[in-house]
Amino acid sequence: MFESATVTPIPDRRELAAVFAGGGVGALCRGLLSEAYPQAESSWPWVTFAVNLIGAFLLGYFATRLQERLPLSSYRRPLLGTGLCGGLTTFSTMQVELLRMIDARHFGLAVGYASASVVGGYAAIHLATAMVRRVRVRT
């Protein structure tokens, strides 16, 4: 039996369309870059690393600005945050890249890549958030 509090709210079509559009653009950008700069297993995965850090910075900026600075909007967060940044960045590709580095016994590279991604991603969100909050709200 389901309690009413656990029922998932049904997202509206405009919200889903915004996620779809943003996600499509983000995925296309990531796909074009990955095709333009193919990566060997033994080298630093620059494309994934770059899109992940750029996407994290943009999400930190958009999400903080939309939550704390701009009036409530029903489609900007799904379009720019969930869609664009979510589609541009990827967790799964990073994990498969790490797995291949471990297979190839490039342990130092794997540890370096995982650490730099996490520290860089965290710092990117922190920086973008601080930038948005430094701008005083107009009264």
């Binding site: 779809f20 990531r30 541009l88 990827t90």
Partner: protein, 121 residues
Amino acid sequence: MIIGLWVGMALIGGAGSVLRFVVDGAIASRTGRAFPFGTLAVNLSGAVLLGLVTGLALSHDRTLLAGTAAVGSYTTFSTWMFETQRLGEDRQVQNLAANIVVSLVAGIAAAALGRLIGSHL
């Protein structure tokens, strides 16, 4: 046809993002806001799926559509980091560390599992 491939990537990438939005929302509404289980579930299931795609050894274009576009968009690095940073702001140090360590360790294990399954199909 190269244009068709890019249009396919955008459409499939859009669909992957919508699936993430729906799955994350369904899980987060059941588990509450204390820990980002929704993103964790999306990312770990996506790591299994991308491992599977890798193990299947599909053609270049199919890998691009099923792996890079579909599963790549379904999973997210930016939201994972955003939620981790917000846990840090709230001084939830244990949850912050757990969100990083569990995602990475279980993510690599999930990718390995998916690849193992894929290579036996």
